[in-house]
Symmetry: C2
Subunit: 403 residues, 2 copies
């Protein structure tokens, strides 16, 4: 008997038919003799509808209240799914994040899980039930509901798999695995049979939509076996694990991210400690910074630019503007007309030709590069948002990644 965590995304529970299909898959796995924990996102457009309702009332709703509001989406999903599973003849119980013992910090809308008490889930599993947990949410130490931000349901699934020492964590989504590039952009993109945590981490943080980097980080930390597959077919999916099988191709894939924004803090003093001041300010507010670029000093000032998630743009600009004097900066400017395109693959750092190949592909496609960031296993370029598709296709082609 194995313990399996299955996570279904919003599109997998979007309507009654999809819910019933997922319920059948869940109960089949259960009837094969496995214990099952299911984690669900909100149905289809529920979250967007709730956000619209909030914005009818307030342009700047409190984050605590947004969490209170949005967490109902997942609660609806799990109650409906528990009914659907019962219709398939299995016992089921739905749990909110709080009931599932998920305790978070108090950064509303981007909370992190600080503890997971699996007692209730284990008790329900041991009584023979399929346990259906609301993703994306937990309770902070004040007893308030906090949501986990983007990819939060993946994080819930992996955290439960880790806490319960599950044998496998299956992430069901609307694509059937991890590809060398977005198949909607690159027609001959190839599905990867497996990928290492580190590679997946880069792919995820670089915008590959299938898994959020926080969930991959957590899976790596607790060595949770992940399987990414489609809820719409029976295809094999992609396994994410500690060490991927050796494949011939060094570059694992091309990823992109449009949900980013670029902020520049202009004319800060060119003295030690300025970057620290800016980024500790952001860290205290729970804002994650991605690429950072600092200009060479001009006279006694320099500019510091960085990218963040687009949905944090307003908050971040507000925060910096309120602290301009403290930072010693003149002004802040920003744009969301940017996107990030990246290549990922282990061992890349030892092959100097890789960066050159990527930059050449972009140059030949007449795409200007605004910022560059490299790591052991990835190279990212910031480009104009409307050039993303062209860039991904050109890079994918230049490395001959197609199937």
């Amino acid at each position: 008997m194995a313990l399996i965590v299955q996570k279904y995304g919003g599109s997998s529970v979007a309507n009654a038919q999809r819910v019933v299909d997922a319920a059948k898959r869940i109960t089949e796995t259960h009837k094969q003799g496995n214990q099952i924990v299911v984690v669900l996102s909100a149905q289809g457009n529920t979250t967007d509808d709730l956000i619209d309702q909030a914005h009818e009332i307030s342009s700047h709703p409190s984050k605590r209240e947004m969490d209170m509001l949005l967490s109902t989406g997942e609660q609806i999903s799990v109650a409906i799914m528990a009914m659907a599973v019962a219709e398939q003849g299995c016992q089921a119980v739905s749990l909110t994040g709080q009931q599932a013992g998920i305790q978070t910090d108090d950064v509303h809308s981007h909370a992190r899980i600080v503890e997971l008490n699996g007692d209730r889930v284990r008790k329900e599993l041991d009584s023979g039930k399929i346990v259906i947990v609301a993703g994306f949410q937990g309770m902070n130490e004040n007893g308030d509901i906090a949501t986990l931000g983007r990819g939060g349901s993946d994080t819930t699934a992996v955290a439960l798999a880790a806490a319960l020492k599950a044998d496998l964590c299956e992430i069901y989504t609307d694509v059937d695995g991890v590809y060398t590039a977005d198949p909607r952009i690159v027609s001959n993109a190839r599905k990867l049979k497996d990928v290492s945590f580190d590679e997946m981490l880069e792919l995820a943080s670089l915008g590959a939509r299938v898994l959020h980097n926080r969930s991959v980080e957590l899976a790596k930390k607790y060595n949770v076996n992940l399987l990414v597959r489609s809820s719409l077919n029976q295809n094999g999916g992609t396994i994410v694990r500690e060490v991927a099988e050796l494949e011939k191709m060094m570059i694992k894939g091309v990823a992109y991210d449009k949900d980013i924004a670029r902020i520049s803090v202009m004319a800060v003093r060119d003295i030690p400690g300025v970057a620290y001041q800016i980024f500790s300010l952001l860290a205290d507010a729970g804002i994650n910074v991605d690429i950072i670029l600092q200009s060479i000093g001009r006279g006694d000032t320099k500019d510091i630019s960085f990218t963040i998630a687009r949905d944090q743009l307003t908050d971040t600009v507000d925060l910096i503007n309120r602290n301009l004097e403290k930072i010693g900066a003149k002004e802040v400017n920003f744009t969301h007309d940017v996107a990030k395109v990246s290549i990922v693959g282990a061992g890349m750092a030892n092959h100097p030709g890789v960066a050159a190949t990527m930059f050449k592909a972009l140059a030949e496609a007449d795409i200007n590069i605004h910022m560059i960031s490299t790591s052991e296993i990835k190279i990212s370029c910031l480009i104009r948002a409307d050039e993303v598709e062209k860039a991904v296709a050109a890079i994918h082609e230049s490395f001959s990644l197609g199937g």
Copy 2:
């Protein structure tokens, strides 16, 4: 500084404009120097939409899961209202039933409040916040969400008013008080300035839609001052309190209830203990029985008929059918083609002419009476459902209750 509990029903928060209107009323009362606790129902048709979703999946969904599902409706209301109140310049915090310390028994869908720990609410009030609590729900000792059934938000409001020793509990609804009869049926129905708990209790349990009997019972028990008024205007409303001011008219009003059903258990043995067996069975299942009528024995058997809330009909019939042998009955039959029409007024028992006047009015309107039930301050008749409007009008007229 007074502490006021304000409860708004579903129609009072049905859309963004209504929410803003209610938020203004709430903040005005706050700015007059009062502490405010707000209790909300689900918006407009939210509950019905959720029920429809459940029924797409299952014809007989589990009650625990229905409670999990339906409780989201109130949670959405309170989050949205907290945002609206903040827009009016006051600090607000929304709380689920659980967060507000409302502990229930575990009769899902018809739970009763067993304890209310007001610590969190008091803490938030003392910090200057308007506290907005989800009505209709609480948490049972298993940590599961349980809903309070019909009129549950009124009950939440009164329970909070009692626990917090509030000075006043205002119930905002879409009518502006308690009338001598339903104004939609009787055009010259008169609004009562005040009414006693006992009279209100009878009116509520007899179907007057403005307050549910459970909330009135609770208000009487803890001597909570209730004010029923409209959220759509500034009219004075009706005060419900221990002793009403003496009014000339003895009969306070005519009420009706269509949401009932009649069940008859046929041919039970005519021996002691049979009624006890039937009604303890129902009590254990949390089913409230209203009118009970037992036939005179024929030979060695008799029939026992009773009325219940219509939404409990299926459950009740199932329950009795499963226990037919134990009860020693032959069969059960039932109908929902019934309605109850009643008159209410203190001191009625000492005026024998009252019942006669009511029965005469029904006879002259050619309406047949199926069951009769009387108490110290009310007389109820069970009639055919489609004759309710005619019956209410005839009775209202016969007692000259019109304004």
